[in-house]
């Protein structure tokens, strides 16, 4: 009786997950696959799975003239720096917020995360004006600050949840063992925070790496990121599908691979407190 009761939902679950997986994976796989096709195959009306692969689109992306390198370096530098700052500050603030005993702590925590909930569109214009006065338009610092405005509250909130999960007994034991607060943090708390740090780092990096709206508004000739480069291929005279698919692959693959590499920690991090 029990098995027959669970049999249907289980089939249903598998079917649902399969659909979801196909929905997610097919476009990505198709994009990666097609980025190795010659232009005439990409645009052919019958889709082809078998073809002789070519690297011509990648080669042309990095060839002199209109190289992708500056965009790639901008993306790496801006996303990397803003992620680093967000995670370092988020880690420290999260630790403080988790351990401090003050009235209205939840309200403070909620206020911090609520700043992350504003839609990007709502802050773009004010930020634009602010950046113009501060001469931050078309600077790396400007974009880093823009991403921080979203990633920092998110990192603080996420790290607070991770620290809440770590019993304070451990750092107290360390302090009784003769550690200063900083040593207890360095030797006991931080090593146990790996899942939290990895999860926060990846989620922050993805946000900055994928962003188009901020980059479109605040960047200039010197600071354009990869999503901007992709958009520039959509011109009025036509769409260079081959290059576009190659850029798409370059944007997506590093994130997917990083995600797979740290899957263990990421899952542990995202299910936060669900399993003890």
């Amino acid at each position: 009786m029990n098995t027959s009761k669970r049999w249907l939902p289980r089939t249903f679950k598998v079917a649902l997950l399969t659909l979801l997986l196909l929905w997610t994976l097919i476009p990505i796989c198709w994009m990666v696959l097609s980025s190795f096709k010659a232009n005439d195959i990409i645009t052919a009306s019958t889709p082809r799975v078998l073809f002789s692969p070519t690297l011509e689109h990648y080669a042309s992306l990095f060839s002199s003239g209109n190289s992708l390198w500056p965009y790639l370096l901008n993306s790496l530098f801006i996303a990397g720096t803003s992620t680093l700052i967000a995670v370092v500050l988020g880690c420290m603030a999260g630790f403080g917020l988790s351990r401090i005993r003050i009235k209205g702590k939840q309200h403070l925590a909620f206020w911090i995360i609520s700043t992350r909930m504003a839609p990007i569109a709502a802050v773009i214009v004010p930020l634009y004006l602010l950046f113009r006065y501060l001469y931050l338009l078309d600077t790396h610092a400007g974009l880093i600050v823009a991403y921080l405005s979203f990633n920092l509250p998110f990192a603080i909130w996420l790290m607070t949840a991770f620290f809440d999960d770590l019993p304070p007994d451990l750092e107290e034991a360390a302090m009784i063992d003769g550690a200063t607060k900083l040593q207890a943090f360095r030797y006991v708390v931080l090593p146990l925070m790996t899942p939290g740090l990895v999860t926060t780092t990846i989620l922050c990096f993805i946000f900055a790496w994928n962003d188009y709206a901020f980059a479109q508004t605040f960047s200039g000739p010197n600071t354009q990121t990869i999503p901007i480069a992709a958009a520039q291929l959509l011109t009025q005279t036509g769409i260079d599908w081959g290059k576009l698919l190659a850029i798409g692959t370059i944007v997506v693959c590093p994130m997917a691979i990083a995600g797979l590499l740290v899957k263990r920690w990421l899952v542990q991090g995202l299910t936060l407190g669900a399993v003890k």
Partner: protein, 369 residues
């Protein structure tokens, strides 16, 4: 070598007062147990001694030196947490040697000291394991080992045995007592279990609602409880209580009215007058079946433990527990009479305060010498 002194310690969490003025003196090498029901402030008091909580007011002295403003790292204490608080990412050896590593002790010397402590606790085989690969009892020993390696002036234990099963708890209790002997150290131990307190302590501090109810040796608390709370808390099964009326009282004793005849309890009756209502307290092991006894009851339940038998009695709305020999022949529903030695009885005033016994119990008297 370490003494500890608490002077009028108070602790508030926000607007609630959790510790309400505690005074205590701990002698060198003494084993002191804080005991009391859950939530009475035992852990808070211990955490203040450890420096993990600040004091709202009052002073803490270790070896005569005021340490209120000294951080936990510099109080030279070791603490065993209820959760053990082993560092999950370190091996047993690194866990035990962590304080030496912080003190920058060279590796060889570190290993030597860890090994010495591991030998005391039979942990040599486990030194390379991580805490998650240990059983509850082994984790417990590692936590104690870590405290030993620290070579502290005072050991603090916060309910260290409460996560172990009953058999292991008894074994660790004995081991801790042995350890106290062997290390010759001052130890403070928190528990809600009065049996742990009775079996291990040199001195018991009974706490309730942030107030010290009584401080004394196990035998002093057993034979001369200062009030009704201590009387009920110490001893197992619990002391029987009966509301009684007073026939007469003087400095030599108090005459109590009982259903089957009066009885003179040898306590100092100053301030008590005829007609007063007091509470009589008699421990189950001091009640005995007695056909001429002044008390009666019907047996509700019999628990035979082999060596002793517990009889649960009822008479009207009063309940009694009587601990008798293992081979009593009474049966459930029997109506029995019972009595007690008045010298073993206690009388409590309405406010719970005990009337002083005229004679000090010989065991207690010999302790104070």
């Amino acid at each position: 070598m370490a003494t500890l002194q608490l002077n009028n310690i108070v602790k508030n969490f926000g607007s609630t007062q959790v510790i309400k003025g505690v005074d205590l003196e701990v002698k060198d090498r003494e084993f002191v147990v804080f005991v009391g029901p859950s939530g009475c402030g035992k852990s808070t008091l211990m955490r203040m001694i450890a420096g993990l909580e600040s004091t709202t007011s009052g002073d803490i002295f270790i070896d005569g030196e005021r340490i209120n403003d000294v951080g936990p790292a510099d109080r030279r204490l070791a603490m065993v947490f209820q959760s053990y608080a082993l560092y999950p990412h370190m091996t047993v050896e690194d866990n035990m040697g962590f304080n030496l590593r912080l003190a920058k002790v060279p590796k060889a010397e570190r290993r030597e000291k860890v090994l010495a402590a591991a030998r005391i606790l039979q942990l040599e085989e486990l030194l390379d394991r991580k805490p998650r690969a240990l059983s509850g009892g082994q984790r417990q020993r590692v936590a104690i080992g870590r405290a030993i390696v620290r070579n502290p002036s005072i050991f603090l234990f916060d309910e260290p045995l409460s996560n172990l099963d009953a058999a292991l708890r008894v074994q660790m209790r004995i081991e801790l007592a042995r350890l106290h002997e062997e290390l010759d150290a001052t130890m403070i131990y928190v528990t809600h279990d009065q049996i742990e307190a009775m079996t291990m302590a040199d001195k018991i501090v009974v706490l309730q609602g942030g107030v010290v109810e009584q401080i004394g040796s196990p035998m002093a608390l057993y034979h001369h409880p200062a009030n009704r709370f201590v009387a009920g808390f110490i001893g197992s099964p619990k002391m029987n209580f009966l509301d009684v009326e007073i026939r007469g009282a003087d400095a030599e004793g108090v005459d109590v009215v009982l259903p089957g005849g009066d009885c003179r309890v040898p306590v100092k009756g100053d301030g008590v007058s005829t007609g007063d209502k007091l509470t009589l307290g008699v421990r189950p092991e001091h009640l005995k079946i007695d056909d001429q006894g002044p008390l009666t009851g019907k047996i509700l339940v019999i628990e035979r433990l082999g060596g002793t038998t517990s009889l649960y009695l009822e008479n009207g709305d009063s309940q009694w527990i009587l601990v008798a020999d293992g081979d009593v022949t009474s049966r459930v529903h029997d109506q029995i009479r019972f009595s007690f030695d008045p010298a073993c009885a206690h009388l409590f005033k309405r406010n719970g305060e005990a009337l002083l016994h005229r004679h000090c119990h010989p065991l207690v008297a010999s302790e104070s010498k």
